[in-house]
Symmetry: C2
Subunit: 173 residues, 2 copies
Amino acid sequence: MSLRFALLGLLAERPSSGYELERRFAEGIGSFAWSASHSQIYPELARLVGDGLVVVVAEGARGRRDHAITSAGREALRSWLLGAPDSTRTVRNEFVLRLFLLSALDRRDAVRVLDGTERFVTAELATLTAAQQEMVEEGVPPGSGPELAAEFGVRSYRATLEWVAWARGRLEG
Amino acid sequence: MSLRFALLGLLAERPSSGYELERRFAEGIGSFAWSASHSQIYPELARLVGDGLVVVVAEGARGRRDHAITSAGREALRSWLLGAPDSTRTVRNEFVLRLFLLSALDRRDAVRVLDGTERFVTAELATLTAAQQEMVEEGVPPGSGPELAAEFGVRSYRATLEWVAWARGRLEG
DNA sequence: CTAATCATGTAACTGGTTACATGATTGT
DNA sequence: ACAATCATGTAACCAGTTACATGATTAG
């Protein structure tokens, strides 16, 4: 069900084509919360239209069809967001999994993985803060989806970097 | 493939039965990195035995079979942990997804969700710090899997709480 | 004119969840 | 004796990925 509400949420911000939704997943939200490929997006959009939660609002070049959320769609999204935040909170994060399995390695190898993690996360953090800077310059409104997502990402990455430093001390000591 | 290496990682720490592995997934690692149910664990364990990465080391009451990692298994795990940390880093986290879609709600509803999140994360954080305290008392060795996982969790939760406070200001302002 | 990108769709397969099913052991 | 928990397994279903497939438009 998550994909369905992720699509509704993105369309609540602004209408998009399936193609565009795939790219929007890739930016920010995809690195921290959810992602989807076009082969999943198109059938789900069709189902949402069938359920009256989404409508086609424009047809453009190359068969492009822009979809918009309906008021029924907004209502469905709202009750999902306000309801049961505790249920089915399964998490899948291969990156974090690797960190959790570090203790299976000897000290030298474990520190090597931590070094790689640090380099990677530092680079991601730089990209994200640059994107944030760009948003400020473009006048993205406070409280918008991308703004919330970027700030969450920055804070998560910083916490990860601090954990890496802590873990290094823990493994070496 | 992640499940396979998650199992190898858990078995690298100590031998376990399938039943026990399911519970070990639920503790810590399941909330932040990966989880699995027994219907997935048993077939995968059988495949790991078939591939020589795991062996049955003991048979106990009620058909219990303890599995241990082999040296081939350790080698497979090691090369996975040291290899390509960047590839296929798809993330699925419904909890975070909800936070990213907040901007679809009006201010009142969004703040309500943030309040619920804060309560939930605060409670989880308390449980986790209690578990950490217990580990210290039980003399869990530094750098062990559960220790690394718990500290990662604490830091992630704290970062989330700080983000919630920030987001509230952003939405209300 | 031609390469890159935009844009959509389906099919086969893999991974993961839920439901069904059974039985042994332990603690009270 | 009974309930709780330990312990394993399979089948049906749903979600997600990869591969296959096609064609229009735009920029250089």
